[in-house]
C-alpha cells in the first residue's frame, strides 16, 4: 500500500458513543448486519455519520437515496434549484409531482419515505466562499455532486482547509470520473486538474447532454466510496482516479499523486477560500461578452417583422440533431462549425437573423458575420427556447 492509499476513518473518534439501533432498525438493516465487514458496529457507525451532499441533482439523487437507505444518520443537502421537467430523465430522487418544487423539499420527502430514521438538514443556498466552511463544519464526509467548475474548486478547497474527505464525481454524456480527495496524505482535485478550462470550452450537461443512467452509475460509485470511508473498510479511491466509459463498458483506474506545487494541499499557500468565479474566468468572460455584445432582436419583434412580410434570412446555427428536435418555421440550418465555408453563399445585402438554442452560439455566429463584413445581422435573443416561450409554444423546448 502506498502512502496515498491511507485508509482514513472520519468516524473513529466517536466509536465510544455510537448510537444504539432499535429492533425496527435491526430488521431494516439486517442484510448489512450479517456482512462481517459492516456488522452491528458498522451500522451504528453509519447511524452516527454525517454526510454533506453538495447538489441534489443527477449525482445527488442516487447519493441521497442510497446513503439514506443504507442508514447514514445525518444527511446535509445543499441546493437552491427547482425541479424542472428536463431533470427527470436522471434525477430520480424527484418525481413528476414535484415539478416546480424546490429540489430540497422533494429530496427531503423522498428520503423520509425511503428511511424515516435519517435526519435531513437542508441548506437552501448556493455554496459560496462566504458560507462553505460554516456549512461543512461537523460533517464527516462531503460528496461533490455539483455541476460547474467554480463550485467544484470551492468544494475541494473547503474540504482541504477543513480536513474533510471529498468524494468527487463528475459526468459528461457517457463518461464519468470518481475519486476521493482531500484526505490527510492524498491528493486533491487541484492535483488532478491544476486549473479550470476557460469558460465555454467544456460543455455542461445542459449544453452537451448526459445519458440518464450515467449519474446513477457514477453517483452510486460515490455512495460506495462514502460508505467505505464511514465504515473504515476496504481500499477507498484515495490517490486513484476511476474513469467510467458507459459507451464502451470500460472502467479504468489511474494513479493520482499529490502535486507538490498544488497551492491547496501541496504548498498550502492557499490559506482561505478565494473568489472562484474569478478563478474560473467567469468575470473576465462576462466582461468580454459585454464588450463583444452583438445586435439583438427579441422573439416578439422578429415575429412581428415576419408577419408583416419583411424579407429576413433566418439562419439556425445549431447542430443537425438539434434541428431534428425542433425548428422555427422558415429557418435554414447552417451549423456554427460550417458557417465559415457557407459565407460565400450568403447574400450580404439581405437582413440576417441568426439563432440557436439559447443565444450563445448564435452570438458567436453574428460576431463572425460582422467580422466578415456583413452589416445587417442580428442575434435572436434567447434563441429557440425564448421563441417557444414568447411566440410559438408549438416549437418544442429541449
Amino acid at each position: 500500500m502506498s502512502a496515498t492509499d491511507t485508509v482514513i476513518d472520519p468516524v473513529a473518534t466517536r466509536l465510544a458513543q455510537l448510537p444504539e439501533l432499535d429492533n425496527d432498525e435491526v430488521l431494516r438493516y439486517s442484510r448489512h448486519l450479517i456482512i462481517p465487514e459492516v456488522g452491528l458496529e458498522g451500522q451504528r457507525r453509519l447511524k452516527a455519520s454525517r454526510v454533506l451532499l453538495v447538489g441534489a441533482g443527477g449525482l445527488g439523487s442516487p447519493l441521497g437515496l442510497y446513503l439514506a437507505a443504507a442508514g447514514v444518520g445525518h444527511l446535509g443537502l445543499v441546493d437552491f434549484d427547482l425541479v424542472d421537467l428536463t431533470n427527470l430523465h436522471r434525477q430520480v430522487i424527484h418525481g413528476t409531482k414535484d415539478l416546480g418544487r424546490p429540489k430540497l423539499d422533494s429530496a427531503r420527502d423522498r428520503i423520509a419515505d425511503v428511511n424515516p430514521h435519517v435526519h435531513v438538514e437542508t441548506y437552501d443556498v448556493r455554496l459560496t466562499s462566504q458560507n462553505a466552511l460554516e456549512i461543512l463544519r461537523g460533517y464527516d464526509v462531503v460528496v461533490d455532486g455539483t455541476d460547474n467548475f467554480p463550485t467544484r474548486y470551492l468544494v475541494n478547497d473547503a474540504c482541504v482547509l477543513s480536513g474533510i474527505p471529498n468524494v468527487y464525481g463528475s459526468i459528461f454524456r457517457f463518461e464519468g470520473q470518481v475519486s476521493v480527495f482531500a484526505t490527510e496524505r492524498g491528493p486533491c482535485y487541484r492535483c488532478l486538474f491544476r486549473e479550470p478550462p476557460p469558460p465555454g470550452l467544456v460543455p455542461s450537461c445542459a449544453e452537451g447532454g448526459v445519458l440518464g443512467v450515467l449519474p446513477g452509475l457514477v453517483g452510486m460509485l460515490q455512495a460506495t466510496e462514502a460508505i467505505k470511508l464511514l465504515l473504515g473498510i476496504g481500499q477507498p479511491l484515495i490517490g486513484r482516479l476511476l474513469l467510467v466509459d458507459a459507451l464502451r463498458a470500460q472502467f479504468r483506474t489511474l494513479k493520482l499523486q499529490r502535486d507538490p506545487e498544488c497551492p491547496t494541499c501541496g504548498t498550502h499557500e492557499l490559506k482561505e477560500l478565494i473568489d472562484y468565479e474569478e478563478f474560473c474566468g467567469l468575470r473576465k468572460a462576462a466582461a468580454e461578452a459585454r464588450a463583444n455584445a452583438v445586435p439583438e432582436i427579441t422573439p416578439s419583434e422578429l415575429a412581428t417583422r415576419i408577419a408583416r412580410g419583411d424579407a429576413i434570412d433566418l439562419i439556425d446555427v445549431r447542430e443537425p440533431h438539434e434541428w431534428e428536435i425542433a425548428r422555427i418555421p422558415g429557418a435554414r440550418l447552417i451549423p456554427l462549425g460550417t458557417l465559415a465555408e457557407a459565407l460565400p453563399s450568403l447574400d450580404r445585402t439581405s437582413e440576417i437573423v441568426v439563432h440557436c438554442k439559447g443565444g450563445s452560439r448564435s452570438a458567436k455566429a453574428v460576431r463572425q458575420l460582422l467580422d466578415a463584413g456583413f452589416v445587417n445581422v442580428t442575434n435572436l435573443a434567447g434563441g429557440i427556447t425564448r421563441w417557444s416561450d414568447e411566440v410559438d409554444p408549438g416549437v418544442a423546448k429541449y
Binding site: 455539483t146 463528475s170 486538474f193
Partner: protein, 91 residues
C-alpha cells in the same frame, strides 16, 4: 514503436470516432504530434497555443500522470498506453 492513445468520446469524434489511435514516437510529445498529424482537428485540444499541456487536460502514460514523468518529454515506447483525461464538471 507504437503507442496506443486512448481518447475520451468527445475527442474521438474529432478522430473519425476512433476511441484508440496507434501513434509513433519516442516521447509523449512525439506521440501527441503523431496523433495530431493523423487528425489535425485534435491539435488545439491536445496542445495549447504555445504547444504546452493544458492544465485542465491530464495525460497518463500507462497509469502515471506525465507531469511527474517529464511532461511531453517523458519517454514512451512500444506497447505503452497514453490516456487523455479532460476535465468535465457535469453532475
Amino acid at each position: 514503436m507504437s503507442i496506443t492513445v486512448h481518447l475520451p468520446n468527445l475527442l474521438a469524434r474529432l478522430a473519425a470516432d476512433q476511441p484508440s489511435i496507434e501513434a509513433e514516437g519516442a516521447t509523449v510529445g512525439d506521440a501527441i504530434d503523431n496523433v495530431i498529424a493523423q487528425f489535425p482537428a485534435l491539435g488545439p485540444r491536445l496542445r495549447d497555443e504555445n504547444g504546452k499541456q493544458y492544465p485542465f487536460v491530464t495525460l497518463y502514460l500507462n497509469d502515471e500522470d506525465i507531469r511527474f514523468q517529464g511532461g511531453f518529454a517523458a519517454p514512451a515506447g512500444d506497447g505503452d498506453e497514453l490516456i487523455i483525461v479532460p476535465t468535465v464538471a457535469g453532475g
